[in-house]
């Protein structure tokens, strides 16, 4: 195969060496080369937010981000969020407990967007929450229980003193 480039990606704290054509998106490499299928593929044009991952703590649409650009950066996918202690992250717990999940297809992207929001702003207002997730479509919930889940996560994380 021609056009293949060796690249190194740091994903969820682990180093991965992969050979990819330079035009492959981070979404494609995560899912197809590395089997990290928790990142979902939907509209593939940056409108729905299902493919969201964090790059150096900032949410991006991995369908619009070339894998080669992600070299040298910290990539966090949904698989990496709760790896450290085998327990779910508080954000994940809040999504489950507050009914923020129905079909679940938007969930990984929304959980990571919440993570990014709460790093920057541990005590967001309802409006700030809605702004932070405006790039994420959800057809099941009408967003209300997602907003409640994010509020609950912020409250619980503040109480536990975790970030």
């Amino acid at each position: 195969m021609k056009h293949l480039l060796p690249i190194t990606l740091r994903i969820n704290g682990e180093i991965h060496d992969v050979l990819v054509p330079p035009w492959r998106t981070l979404l494609e490499v995560l899912r197809e080369s590395l089997g990290l299928t928790g990142t979902k593929r939907s509209c593939q044009e940056g409108q729905c937010g299902t493919c969201t991952v964090l790059i150096d703590g900032k949410p991006i649409n991995s369908c619009l981000y070339l894998a080669i650009e992600a070299q040298g950066r910290d990539i966090l996918t949904i698989e990496g969020l709760s790896k450290a202690d085998a327990h779910l992250h508080q954000i994940q717990k809040s999504f489950v407990q507050k009914g923020g999940i129905q079909c679940g297809f938007c969930t990984p992207g929304l959980v990571l967007a919440t993570k990014a929001l709460l790093i920057d702003n541990p005590d967001p207002s309802e409006d700030e929450i809605r702004e932070a997730i405006v790039g994420h479509l959800c057809r099941c919930t009408g967003y209300f229980q997602i907003v409640e889940a994010i509020q609950d996560a912020a409250r619980e994380m503040a109480r536990q003193g975790s970030g």
């Binding site: 089997g35 928790g38 409108q47 949904i78 009914g99 297809f105 479509l137 099941c140 009408g142 907003v147």
Partner: protein, 778 residues
């Protein structure tokens, strides 16, 4: 009544988080696109660029020769058998053979080593078409001499439904006020975020396996068999997680499913297909756009006397379940109101557009939009408060409607009362500042339908030696919470915890046959079947416990994973121990079975008479809006909804479903529209097809969902439909609120800024053309 039931049940009635939430929130839930099998190939579909054409020749030679392409199939690789839902209207083919009828119809398919190669190969397939004249508007399609889409459907009539109950002429004669209006609705898409996806395998023994995100796997099982001309026993459908359903094609076999298995047969490899969002938005499956003419007669005291409805639906190129769609809109025309005389005439017309079918609420939201908009016009002209006119006509428990619906529980009065209270209706109506308004809309839904085909549900339960419970049904969780509520029912009966119950997804080789998820049937029908299966298992356990404890089985109580005698609570055995004892000493396998069929009676679709569902839910919705007169933009500032879902078994899930359905209908009311020009979808992307965003819905403090609790005797533990029905009144509620805010009556959807601006302009022109005094109305 509420508290009484909550106290009686150990599990039901409490908010229980979704069972599969842990998998979904950690990215471990495997959807169809997440399947990567060894040697798997990737498929792509070639689609017709013409709205109507004859296929003269398909040349696949260049595509087949492209490096990386493993196989190509076209229509004639299949046996030419039509498949579909209703026997008289089956008109789907796996791939078109000699004719295409809409832009996007599937013509050929390629399997290659990757998606890019498959895509490239599509460009190398040469199809010679002879374009035929096409029709897009149903009114043109029924004219003499119009191009005909299907040989079996003269005049392009894809389906019709007509009935007459009571006598509308005498009803209108007895009316003191008669109103006629025409309403139009638009095509909208389901908007599920997971595109259709499947992996197909046809092995050398002749066994076909399809992994796919199906809402109704057994429907797919039968349809695949039908279209392939083989026995269903050779087919195995394995349901994956479903990333949103809403009947957006995942309830049926689709061309991709046929092509995946056929390409697998040709290559000996599993083949995956995943639609792009452009494909999802281009192909058929959408809500029927309709033109609804409605004539309603009413007495001076606001009592509805007669309704006559003529409806034309633009059905698109194929039937889907359209015949039923037409019946349903008329059958639900008057619900939740008493109307003694009803006449209904509906036609679904074939046109060269993507075809229409079911979508959350099916054809009920459209009819409720027309009827409840008109009801507000009537109320205004007769000087009634909109809630008062609804109250005066409310169907009551024990009624039989003119078309034979037997109304059991129906807390519609309470829905109206409580939604008025929650929204502060009486403080706000007529008293809001300029450009703000409040409106009400109501609707009703069935709790599953008695259909001509497969209606009944089945469930099986095994209690295992660790005390855990394996619950299998052919019904599916599509995110609505079936996994959780059905597990809750089993746990309630068996005295275990919800976490003790496993709910594997459907695998047609292992699960009981069941029609699947549609028409708000699962909690009610499958819930009843699960309850009976659990009771059967409990009976088997009770017999063993009675033998072991030497007590009367009638006295046994199942609670906290224990079985004990209510007469002497010391007489007890752990469930785990009991099952092991039975296995070891008696060779017993605890396997309970349950079924639910809601009686034998069926609707007579020729007359429209009959009791469609075992139970009906009413709902009432109040919406408050603010309209920007400069831009025509509508902001929803508050939503209050009340619905009677019997006894809500899992209030957390009911709330999520109800609010989700409400927001989906706000999307239809204000933003969404699949724009077609000469059959071509002009906005096939989520950028251009506008669904509600998190910032488009009101703040939490301005949103309330009220469960009106009735005790539905035929429902499992008192439950009825929840979620789908709550959307039915929303379209009219928004239209009525916009009228209250602006004085413009929006009779077509969506009520988008441009249309509102135009209507305001027209109103102003009309008023200035009239007297100067009308300025005061501003």
């Amino acid at each position: 009544m509420d508290e009484e039931f909550r106290n009686e049940y150990n599990i039901l009635g409490r908010p229980v988080p979704k069972k599969d939430g842990w998998l979904k929130v950690s990215g471990q839930a495997e959807y169809a696109d997440d399947i990567f099998l060894p040697g798997m190939l990737h498929g792509k579909l070639l689609r017709s660029p013409h709205p109507h054409a004859r296929i003269l020749n398909v040349d696949i030679s260049k595509a087949a020769a492209l490096a990386g392409v493993r196989a190509v199939v076209m229509g004639k690789d299949f046996p030419g058998l039509k498949y579909g839902n209703i026997p008289q209207t089956r008109d789907y083919l796996p791939l078109a053979i000699d004719r295409v009828r809409y832009i996007g119809e599937e013509v050929a398919a390629v399997a290659a080593i990757d998606e890019d190669t498959a895509e490239e190969a599509l460009d190398l397939i040469r199809v010679d078409y002879e374009p035929l004249s096409a029709i897009f508007d149903p009114e043109d399609a029924v004219q003499l001499g119009a191009p005909q889409l299907h040989d079996h459907a003269a005049g392009n009539i894809a389906g019709h439904s007509a009935f007459h109950f009571g006598d509308v002429e005498s009803g209108f004669a007895a009316s003191e006020y008669i109103r006629e209006d025409v309403f139009e609705t638009q095509p909208i898409k389901h908007g599920m975020l997971e595109p259709h996806a499947c992996v197909g395998q046809w092995d050398s023994s002749g066994k076909i396996t399809l992994w796919s995100c199906k809402m109704s796997p057994y429907v797919v099982w039968r349809q695949l068999a039908m279209g392939l001309g083989i026995e269903p026993g050779k087919i195995r459908i394995i349901q994956t997680f479903v990333g949103g359903g809403f009947s957006g094609g995942k309830q049926e076999a689709m061309p991709m499913d046929f092509c995946a298995v056929m390409l697998s047969r040709k290559t000996g490899r599993p083949v995956k297909f995943v639609h792009t969002m452009e494909e999802v938005l281009t192909i058929g499956h959408m809500r029927h756009p309709m033109k609804i003419w409605l004539r309603t007669g009413v007495t001076k005291d606001g009592k509805l006397q007669a309704q006559h409805c003529k409806l034309t639906a633009n059905g698109g190129a194929y039937s889907s379940i359209g015949q039923f769609s037409m019946y349903l809109a008329g059958a639900m025309l008057n619900l939740p109101y008493r109307v003694p005389n009803i006449k209904y005439e509906a036609q679904r017309i074939y046109t060269n557009n993507g075809f229409c079918g079911a979508l959350r609420g099916h054809t009920i939201p459209q009819i409720c939009y027309a009827r409840d908009s008109q009801l507000d016009i009537i109320a205004e002209n007769l000087g009634f408060d909109p809630i008062e006119i609804r109250r005066r006509n409310a169907i009551q428990q024990g009624d039989t409607t003119s078309n034979g619906f037997r109304i059991t529980t129906f807390g519609f009065d309470e829905c109206l009362e409580r939604v008025a209270e929650a929204s502060k209706w009486h403080e706000k109506r007529g008293k809001l500042p300029k450009w703000r308004g409040i409106g009400v809309g109501c609707g009703s839904l069935i709790s599953g339908a008695r259909l001509m085909g497969h209606s009944a549900s089945a469930a099986e339960i095994r209690v295992q030696e660790d005390g855990s419970v394996q619950l299998t049904t052919g019904s599916t969780d599509v995110g609505q919470g079936a996994d959780t509520v059905l597990s809750m029912i089993a746990a309630e009966v068996l005295g275990v915890e919800v976490d003790d119950v496993r709910f594997p997804r459907v695998d047609t080789d292992n699960t009981p046959v069941d029609p699947g998820t549609f028409g708000s049937r699962v909690t009610f029908w499958t819930g009843n079947a699960v309850k009976r299966a659990a009771e059967d298992a409990r009976q088997q356990l009770a017999e063993m416990a009675a033998q072991k404890l030497r007590v009367d089985p009638q006295d046994l109580v199942f609670r906290d994973r224990q079985v004990f005698s209510r007469k002497d609570q010391q007489q007890r055995v752990g469930l785990k121990e009991l099952v092991r004892w039975g296995e070891f000493h008696l060779g017993r396998v605890i396997a309970g079975r349950g079924a639910y069929a809601a009686g034998e009676e069926l609707i007579d679709f020729r007359t429209g008479f009959g009791n469609l569902s075992p139970a009906y839910t009413p709902s009432a919705c109040v919406v408050e809006v603010e309209v920007d007169p400069e831009t025509g933009h509508v902001t929803i500032t508050g939503i209050w909804g009340a619905d009677d879902s019997g006894f809500p078994l899992n209030p957390l899930a009911v709330k999520g479903q109800v609010l989700g359905a409400t927001v989906m209908c706000i999307g239809q009311a204000l933003y969404e529209n699949l724009i077609r020009v000469e059959g071509k979808v002009m906005n096939p992307s989520l950028r251009a097809y506008k669904m509600p965003l998190s910032t488009d819905v009101p703040k939490l403090a301005d949103v309330e969902h009220i469960s009106v609790i009735t005790w539905e005797p035929s429902g499992p533990f008192g439950a009825k439909e929840a979620g789908e029905g709550a959307g039915t009144g929303v379209l009219a509620a928004v239209a009525n609120a916009i009228y209250d805010a602006t004085g413009v009556r929006m009779k077509s959807l969506p009520m988008s800024p441009d249309r509102i601006r135009f209507a305001l302009k027209q109103k102003n022109e009309k008023e200035s053309a009239g007297k100067g005094s009308s300025v005061a109305a501003e």
